[in-house]
């Protein structure tokens, strides 16, 4: 963490300098700009000394949350960090979504991207400091009022207490006096004194999400707002030649049709009108240079690349020598389809581009980048666009669009409409709209020496690159998310003296994007099923074989043991039931999962998923568990039934009937054990996804005697009961 905190400090100093708070020059937490401060103060007599904390006279604490909420609990965990150090009464804490301005940038990457499971990793220190600093100011204010030394005062439940005299004052009552005091850099608590961090608190947005009152982007309605749907080319790379809108315009409620760079927008008075209008629209497409691949051919061409070396990502020792002296050599090829994120809330953007106003409402993982992209189309400077980041109905990476596709489309529509418009995506638009998890082919090889020890390992991947070049290399490094297609292989955790990993970066016009757990979603499947094959070749139990290769990785070994123990690995499963295991170090965390499955008559039952997780300090252990449960369902959906396929360039799926995802009766029972290593927090949003599929495939081998080498499993006549 050393270099990371250095970076944090530096970026904050920059922020303070631009925000220009001479008064608080030594202050390293992002400041509100003076006009914003004045506005906040005027609005509710609020005390808001830094960008993240506001205390009002009614003694409520509002935590302004910078990252986006996609389901992972962002509106709860950062407020817990603030509240802990502030000694706030948790029942008097609420959240507010931050705007896309510089103080709210991720301190690691200086942009407001929510991805890579790094909300807590990157905000743990910052949010605690924000709370501690405010607590310190409140204590100073009370000390002045009572004419005592601040050191003699205590804080508890949003109250400053003088234990000597028995006096107390609420934070709300001290806010005005505290506002004029200079903030210092106070000491943070020792983790043993935590009373909020580590507690399984209920989500602050739980009740509103259970009663339907949460406003997502799709729920924004403005007076006089129109609704638009966009007709997009039937194949990636197609372009509009001409269109005939007469039939569409003849329909009631269809008011405008506009050509935009991405297609043709049909604008109606409501969704239904726009939908009917789009169906009636006739577009002549130029598909002469459009993508025309067919999935089966794509696998063949990727497969051919497996014979040739690619760009080297890791090169340790001498694989050739290990091969020459090997007792056994193994090789396996794996193939993986494109996948759609399919967040439950289809993409949508509301723009008010009226004279004198430019305002955007959007559930996005990357609001500052999206605002900037919109500004280039609308011709309005980014900081004059009022941008509302909405809570999102799922994202999984799709709402962190590297090419800003949905915001650019919407901006073009708004520019043509010159008014208030909601640009919607139907589920069909979502499933056929690209930005998929890339299809991939992997080849893994390994050798065992005379003693049955793993002596070499190679991994080769052919895939499109999701975002290489989209973020500066340095940012990617600092961020710790690896967007490379060899993620999971080049950093594989097992001790092997000779390792080579290389990659073929393939290009075509199918748009790809990071999806939850990115390349780990396929590479860990390949790696962890291959390790089971190696264990078998070495004549060892798969769990014990992994243990032997993880002697120098205490935390991964710790979760492996914990998962095996929780699942009862050493006691045989019930008749007809088989177990598989898999493990992963990633996102600053560690996980091992055991899956129990059964098969009868081609019907597969996924019965139980046991996970052991070491994510360092679990800020909210119940939300950690929820993320693992979520990851299991997400990973199983992909492994069992997820596939986007193309035929002559045309996507063959369109909605949940042919792009199915796991349902209630198909979801396994789950148990999650949190191994508390006491280390700094790691990420958990993606952690539960990669291992569940290989653990399942390893369990299936015990039942079918067949190795799964391509996904989804539904292609191998295994369907879910």
């Amino acid at each position: 963490m050393a270099d990371q905190s250095g970076l944090t400090r530096r970026s904050f100093l920059q922020v303070s300098a631009t925000a220009g708070g001479g008064l608080l020059a030594a202050w390293y937490l992002p400041l509100l700009s003076p006009p914003a401060q004045a506005a906040a103060a005027a609005q509710q007599q609020a005390f808001q000394p830094n960008a993240f904390v506001r205390i009002t006279a009614d003694n409520w604490t509002t935590v302004i949350v910078a990252p986006a909420e996609l389901g992972q609990g962002t509106m709860t965990a950062p407020p817990m960090l603030v509240a802990e150090e502030l000694d706030a009464d948790w029942n008097l804490v609420r959240f507010e979504q931050a705007p896309p301005t510089l103080p709210y940038s991720n301190p690691r990457i200086v942009t407001q991207l929510t991805a890579g499971s790094f909300v807590i990793v990157s905000r743990y220190q910052q949010q605690r400091e924000a709370g501690a600093a405010v607590r310190d100011m409140l204590v100073q204010a009370a000390a002045r009022q009572w004419n005592v030394s601040p050191a003699t005062l205590q804080t508890r439940n949003s109250t400053v207490i003088d234990p000597v005299s028995g006096r107390s004052a609420t934070y709300g009552s001290l806010a005005a006096a505290a506002a004029v005091l200079p903030p210092l850099l106070p000491k943070l608590k020792d983790p043993k004194d935590f009373t909020i961090i580590g507690q399984p608190k209920a989500r602050l947005d739980g009740a509103q999400k259970a009663n339907g009152s949460t406003q997502y982007g799709i729920d924004v309605y403005l007076p006089g707002m129109l609704t638009a749907l966009i007709a997009r080319p039937p194949r990636f790379g197609g372009r509009v030649v001409s269109y005939d809108a007469s039939a569409a315009m003849a329909l009631p409620g269809v008011v405008e049709v506009h050509q935009i760079p991405g297609g043709v927008a049909v604008v109606g008075t409501d969704f239904w009108a726009a939908k009917q209008g789009r169906a009636a629209l006739k577009v002549k497409w130029d598909l002469s240079t459009a993508e025309n691949i067919t999935s089966a051919d794509l696998y063949t061409s990727y497969g051919k690349l497996m014979a040739f070396p690619g760009t080297v990502r890791r090169y340790d020792g001498d694989v050739a020598l290990a091969r020459a002296t090997a007792a056994q050599s193994l090789q396996a090829d794996y193939s993986f389809p494109y996948l759609a994120h399919a967040p439950m809330e289809p993409l949508n953007v509301v723009i008010d581009y009226s004279p004198g106003n430019c305002e955007i409402w959007c559930g996005t993982q990357w609001p500052d980048a999206d605002r900037l992209a919109a500004s280039t189309v609308l011709g309005v400077p980014a900081d004059l666009i009022k941008f509302h980041t909405m809570l999102s109905g799922g994202g999984f990476g799709r709402r962190g669009s590297v090419d800003n596709d949905f915001i650019l489309d919407a901006a073009h529509v708004a520019k043509a409409v010159r008014g208030k418009v909601k640009v919607m995506w139907t589920r069909e638009d979502d499933i056929t709209g690209g930005h998929y998890r890339p299809a991939a082919v992997c080849r893994l090889t390994a050798t065992l020496d005379q003693a049955g020890k793993l002596s070499s390992f190679t991994g080769r991947v052919a895939a499109q690159s999701v975002a290489y070049g989209a973020l500066p290399e340095l940012a990617v490094k600092v961020l710790g998310i690896d967007i490379r297609a060899t993620e999971g292989l080049e950093n594989m955790p097992y001790a092997v003296p000779n390792v080579e990993v290389d990659v073929h970066t393939v290009t075509n016009q199918v748009k790809v994007l990071w999806m939850r757990s990115v390349a780990n979603s396929f590479n860990i499947f390949a790696l962890e099923t291959f390790v089971d094959e190696l264990a078998q070749a070495a004549g060892q139990d798969p769990y014990q074989f992994r243990r032997g290769l993880l002697r120098n990785n205490a935390r991964l070994l710790g979760v492996l043991d914990a998962a095996a123990q929780a699942a009862g690995w050493t006691t045989p499963p019930a008749a007809g039931v088989s177990r598989g295991i898999a493990a992963l170090a990633g996102y600053g965390s560690y996980i091992a999962q055991v899956v129990e499955a059964s098969v009868s008559g081609g019907q597969l039952g996924v019965l139980r998923g046991v996970s052991a997780v070491d994510c360092g300090i679990a800020v909210n252990p119940d939300l950690v568990k929820a993320q693992i449960e979520s990851g299991i369902v997400f990973g199983l959906s992909s492994a069992l039934m997820g596939a986007i396929t193309l035929q002559d360039g045309v996507v063959q799926q369109s909605n949940f009937h042919d792009y199915p995802v796991l349902r209630m009766h198909q979801a396994p029972q789950t148990e999650t054990v949190i191994v508390n290593s006491g280390e700094s927090p790691g990420g958990v949003g993606e952690l539960g996804v990669p291992c569940v599929a290989p653990a399942l495939a390893n369990a299936l081998y015990g039942l079918t005697g067949k190795r799964v080498r391509s996904l989804p499993m539904s292609n191998q006549s295994l369907s879910l009961s």
Binding site: K209, A210, G212, E345, G394, R427, A626, V633, N655, M664
Partner: protein
Amino acid sequence: MDVIAVNGTQYQVDTSGGRPLLWVLRDQLHLTGTKYGCGLALCGACTVHVDGQPTRSCVFPASAAVGHQITTIEGIGQTTVGQKVQQAWAQQNVPQCGYCQSGQVMAAAALLSNNPQPSDTDIDNAMAGNICRCGTYVRIRQAIHSIAGN
């Protein structure tokens, strides 16, 4: 113009053109708790009650709602069962992104009204039409059992 009854209130609405009830609720009445997820009765996000029966409003013509009692997520909290479901959901951290949860709550409330002690199979049958992409199924099941246990 037709009149439909939603959560006990009568509304004048435009049901023309085969408009599904979902879009009348959302685009005309701005009752936004009922969600669009698929438009083809595949995901359950748009579930409302028509005379107490869970119904996919994305394929239910608004004109067919005339003369029936429609209950949406905005109204279900007025019932004892609905209130219990919503409380259990919040207390047990069921929602993640929350987008599917209006539909899940409506499906669960209908199940529990008809069958106060549902078995796992009953839950599977009643909830199989409601997709949760965030994978909150385990908690939905637990929450339903916890209500049944009270």
